[in-house]
Every structure is written in C-alpha cells, then in structure tokens.
C-alpha cells in the first residue's frame, strides 16, 4: 500500500506488514527451514549417506543432465521463437503465442501422459517406429528430458519477448545497412542487447527443470540407477519412512534453487548499476 502524502507509516501499514510476514513465515520460511534442520538433525550424516549411495548419486546426476540438456534446448528454441514472434509477421502468430503458455497452465502429469500417448514404446503413435530404430523414449533418458523441456518451455520466451519488443529493430536495420549479414547482426547486435533477459530465462528454466516431478514420474518408469531422478528419489524415500534421506535430497535440490535466485538478484542489481 502506498503511503500517500504522510511520510510516517500509519497503523494500517503495520498491520499489513505483520500479515505479509506471518503469511510468508507459515507458508515458506518455516517449512523450508524445517527441511534444513531435519537434514542436519544428526550432523552431516544424512547428507554423507546420500552422497555415498551410488544409486542416489546416479539420481542426482540424471536430474542434472536432464535439467542442463532441457535448459540448453529451451534456450536455443526460446530465443529463436522470440525472434520469430517479435520480428516477423505470419498467419497463426497469436495462436502460437497462446500455445506457448500451455505448458505453464497444464498440469505436468497431463504432460507426462500425453508424451506416453505419442512416444510410448508399445501403444504410442510414434513410439514403436522410434523403438524399431533403436531409440527408446519413454522409460528412458530422452523421455525425461522431453518432459522436463516441455514444462519449462515458455520461461526463456517470456523473458526475452518483452525485451525484444522494447528494443525495436532499428539497431538491427542499422547493422544491416552497415553491411552485417543476418548472422553477424544477431551475434553482434541482437544477442548483446537481450543477454540479461536470456540469462534470467536460463536461470528460471534451470530451477524449474531441477524440481520437475509430475511429468517425469509418468515417463520415467523409476528404474533404480537408470531413470530415477532426484525428485522421484525424494518421494520414494519419504514413502519408505526414510524421512531423513528425503529431507537431505530435498535440501540439495532446494539449495540449488536458492543459489539460482541469489544469482538472479545479484545480476539484476548489477544491471541496475549500469
């Protein structure tokens, strides 16, 4: 609430502040801090046992691989689609733009089921053909990467599009008139102008990819040491009453996300100083 002309905050302001803080504490701060305290209830034993378990190290590695590959795909795809949406005119552009928001609104579990319908090895539309060519998608790493990429698809686009729109295309035209090819214009002019938006998009995509659970749960098959990701391992540990292990993995995942947020805020403040 804006403090109109009065510089001193009134009682309403204090009430609102308390409300906001209480809400955040109950919903976010307390639960997350309990994850941390539970993880370290017996010192670093829980963490050490996780990192010594080869199956769990595999799970963490698989999550990292899926997240990195999905982020790389979505970055290239996102920047290309953003340029297409902002710089060109074609029929169906608005429909495409609306479709790109679909992954954010559809439940991840629906995404997983949809992927199985298309790429499932036995009954999928496309799956048997691919399997015949020696590529298993569902219950394998490609499927996990696809599911992860699907759910985090719009994040780069939604960061880059407004920046491109605000930028306009005069600088690009100027570069062209000075003899730059389309490629030179992109690398020398467009990309440096949108680089912060791309960085934010990448960080958000990465954070979202690391934490994906629903879609991955459907397509992975949860094969120990092969297609079990870190989030699936958390669920399994939790259901097997190994709460300490669940909290430890959860802590690892959460700390990467927190790190991502810290990086973003540092970048933003650095940019503000420019």
């Amino acid at each position: 609430m804006a403090e109109r002309t009065r510089p001193a905050p009134g009682p309403t302001t204090y009430v609102l502040r308390v409300l906001v803080i209480t809400y955040l504490v109950l919903l976010v701060i307390w639960p997350v801090s309990l994850v941390v305290t539970n993880t370290f209830a017996n010192g670093d034993e829980a963490l050490r046992s996780i990192l010594e378990d080869p199956d769990l190290v595999d799970a963490l590695r698989l999550t990292a691989v899926a997240a990195v590959v999905a982020t790389a795909i979505n970055t290239v795809f996102g920047v290309t689609v953003s340029l297409l949406l902002v710089r060109t005119v074609f029929p169906g552009k608005r429909i495409l733009s609306a479709l790109l928001d679909l992954p954010l609104s559809v439940s991840p579990i629906v995404v997983g089921l949809a992927l199985v319908l298309v790429y499932g090895g036995r009954n999928g539309w496309f799956g048997p053909t691919l399997e015949g060519a020696g590529l298993q998608v569902i219950f394998s790493t490609p499927g996990i990467i696809m599911a992860t990429a699907f759910v985090s698809l719009p994040l780069v686009i939604r960061e880059v599009v407004p920046v491109l729109q605000e930028l306009g295309d005069e600088q690009e035209q100027a570069a062209r008139s000075l003899g730059a090819s389309g490629r030179q214009t992109f690398w020398r002019i467009t990309l440096p102008s949108i680089k912060w938006a791309v960085v934010y998009g990448v960080v958000l995509t990465m954070a979202r990819s690391l934490g994906e659970f629903g879609a991955v749960k459907v397509v992975s098959g949860n094969v120990l040491g092969e297609t079990r990701t870190a989030t699936l391992a958390v669920e399994e540990k939790y259901l097997n009453f190994d709460q300490e292990g669940a909290y430890a993995i959860a802590f690892l995942l959460a700390s990467v996300s927190v790190l991502a947020i810290v990086v973003v805020s540092l970048l933003r403040s650095r940019e503000a100083h420019r």
Binding site: E170, Q171, Q173, A174, A175, R176, S177, L178, G179, A180, S181, Q184, R188, I189, P192, S193
Partner: protein, 344 residues
C-alpha cells in the same frame, strides 16, 4: 546520375504509399525529400536504402540495378531519426562497426600481423571520422552518455565510415530541439561540402529543406508534386500544394499567392485592384497581419511591415484596395484538386 528511380510503386494493403515514382538524382547532390507526414517520403528513402522493396519499378544506384539487392549489399549509409545507436558499444566501436564487418582477416587469430594491420587501419579511420564530427573526446563513452545532437553526429560518422555511395538520412534532426536542429542543419551543409557524397534526406520542415538542399523533391500522397532548386520551388511552384507547403498563402481574385506579395492602397489607383474591408488586424513583432474581406466575399490575408501599416492607417473597418505585387509567384486556386497533370 547517382540514383535512378523508375516507376516505383508501393502499397501496404489498401494504402497506396507510393505510386509511379520516377526520379533521378545526380552524383554529389544534397537532395531533400519534402512533404507532409504519411506522404510517402520515408517509404521512398527506405526503398532507395533497400530496407523496403518496391511492388513495381526499379532502383539503380551508380548504374547498377539495386532493386533486388538487400540493404547490406547496397553500400548505403543510413541515418535514423532516433539514431539507432548500438547501446552496448562505445562511440568508437559504433563508428568502427561497418569497418569491422568489412575487414576480412579470415579466421586468423587476433595477434597475427594481418589482423593487427586491419585493426590499426580501422582505428585510424575511426579517429579521423570522430574528428570530422567533433566527437574525438567522447570516443570511449557509451551512447547513453551523449546528448541527442551528439548521438546523431555519431550515427552520421558511423554511416560515413563505410564510404557509402549514397548517404540517406530519415528526418535526421526531427527528434532534436529547435536550437540544436538549426546548428546541425548548418553543420550538415558544411559537411556535405567537404565530403561530397550523394545525399538524400527526408524532412517535413520546409525551412530545413530550403536552407540546406541543392534540390528539393516535394512528395505528397504517394506522388512527386515538383522537383526543383529551392529558388525554383519558391518562385515558380507547380501548383497550390507546393506553394502552400513552402510557406503561407492566401487567395486574391482567384489566384493563390503569398500574403506579403499583396500591394495595399487606400484608393483604386492600380489596375485590377480589389476593394476590401479590414476585418481584423494582428500585430506580431515587426509584422502586421491584416484579414480583409473583398466585395466579392473572398477572405484575404495580407502581411506588411508595421511602418507600412501605420502609414496607410490600416485599422478594422477601413477600406483597402488590394492587388498582387508585380512579379509575385501565383498559381490558380483550385478548390477541387485535379490529380491528372500534376507532377514532376
């Protein structure tokens, strides 16, 4: 001829931006495309540059057909109204951009003698250009640290760096305040006298066109109304649009003429003089503007000096005898414009 445009037309949906444009511009000339907003002058400039493609017709630059040539192959310098500065590059790097693109060192690593020679050549050229536009001390600044006028001079240096066959400027001073605009206008004229590159600039400011250009092309509603030197246009306008666009006009006895080209008498001495009654007198500085109504019911505006008005005792309700001055530029007034027969 440096630029030859033949039969160029351009439509955007139903809107006709340009229709049947024929225009030849000689080498080394400074030409103004003058006309009201939305008249098609910017579209014409962008077609010359290759930033737009014409629906029909051809563009020949220095004897070479450029109609289908993309902008990066035309070797034109283009200056935008809002500067289009590369915001992430320093002033010197902005100016060097076109040269860096053109300097082929191949894939050699940057420390080889060929690459170094290329860098030194670019640096020398950039320094020369920055001196030309008086920005030497700002070489390491970012565009955001420059004023509007400085940014536009940087954009001009950047366009000149590639030694363009033609230099095209789209309302180059349109975003600047009046004083800077006037300075840059004089400066552009002097720069052109030094550099002598064929230059075309778009403007809607008739004063700017009259002051700077060797030749003015008046563009209106997608057509060329008249081509001529500033004197020709001012003294011998092809029609009432050109006349009206280059300065104030009024009508007297069925002809359009300038308000200061009307002789005023208190009696019916002159042949063809018309009797009129003063409706309003407005004093603006040294000038007096008189609105009068003739016996035929025509509204006439006359401008005269203060002294003259005083000597004739011009005041509201006075009767005057108005006649066109000898040698005044006049065109017949046409309340309904006929499109045919109007043009270059």
């Amino acid at each position: 001829m440096s630029i030859d445009i033949t039969g160029v037309s351009k439509r955007y949906g139903d809107f006709v931006a340009l229709e049947g444009i024929d225009l030849s511009l000689p080498r080394g000339q400074l030409t103004a495309l003058l006309g009201p907003s939305g008249g098609g002058k910017t579209t014409l400039l962008r077609i010359i540059a290759g930033l737009e493609t014409p629906d029909t017709g051809s563009v020949v630059i220095e004897g070479k057909d450029a109609t289908r040539l993309p902008v990066q192959k035309r070797n034109v310098g283009f200056v935008f109204q809002h500067y289009a500065a590369f915001k992430h590059l320093s002033v010197a790097r902005n100016v060097a951009f076109g040269l860096e693109i053109r300097t082929h060192g191949g894939l050699r690593p940057p420390w080889t003698p060929q690459k170094r020679a290329g860098r030194e050549r670019i640096q020398a050229k950039v320094e020369e250009l920055l001196a030309l536009v008086h920005l030497s001390q700002f070489a390491d600044r970012l565009p955001s640290q420059l004023s509007g006028g400085q940014r536009q001079r940087m954009a001009l240096a950047r366009a000149l760096a590639i030694e363009p066959t033609v230099l095209l400027l789209d309302e180059p001073f349109g975003a600047l305040d009046a004083k800077v605009r006037k300075e840059l206008r004089d400066w552009l004229r002097r720069l052109h006298d030094e550099v002598h590159v064929t230059t075309v600039f778009v403007t809607h400011d008739q004063e700017e066109a009259l002051e700077v250009a060797d030749e003015i092309v008046v563009v209106n509603q997608g057509r060329i109304e008249q081509v001529g030197t500033p004197d020709e246009l001012y003294d011998d306008p092809a029609n009432d649009f050109v006349m009206g666009f280059l300065g104030e006009t009024t009508t007297l006895g069925g002809v359009v003429l300038r308000p200061h080209d009307i002789e005023v008498d208190r009696g019916p001495g002159r042949a063809g003089a018309q009797e009129a009654v003063v409706v309003r007198v407005l004093r603006v500085g040294f000038e007096v503007r008189v609105s009068a109504e003739t016996v035929a019911g025509e509204q006439v505006t006359v401008s005269m000096t203060r002294t003259h008005a005083k000597a004739l005792q011009v005041e509201e309700g006075a009767t005057l005898w108005l006649s066109p001055a000898v040698g005044a530029a006049t065109v017949p007034s046409m309340p309904v414009r006929l499109r045919d027969g109007v043009g270059a």
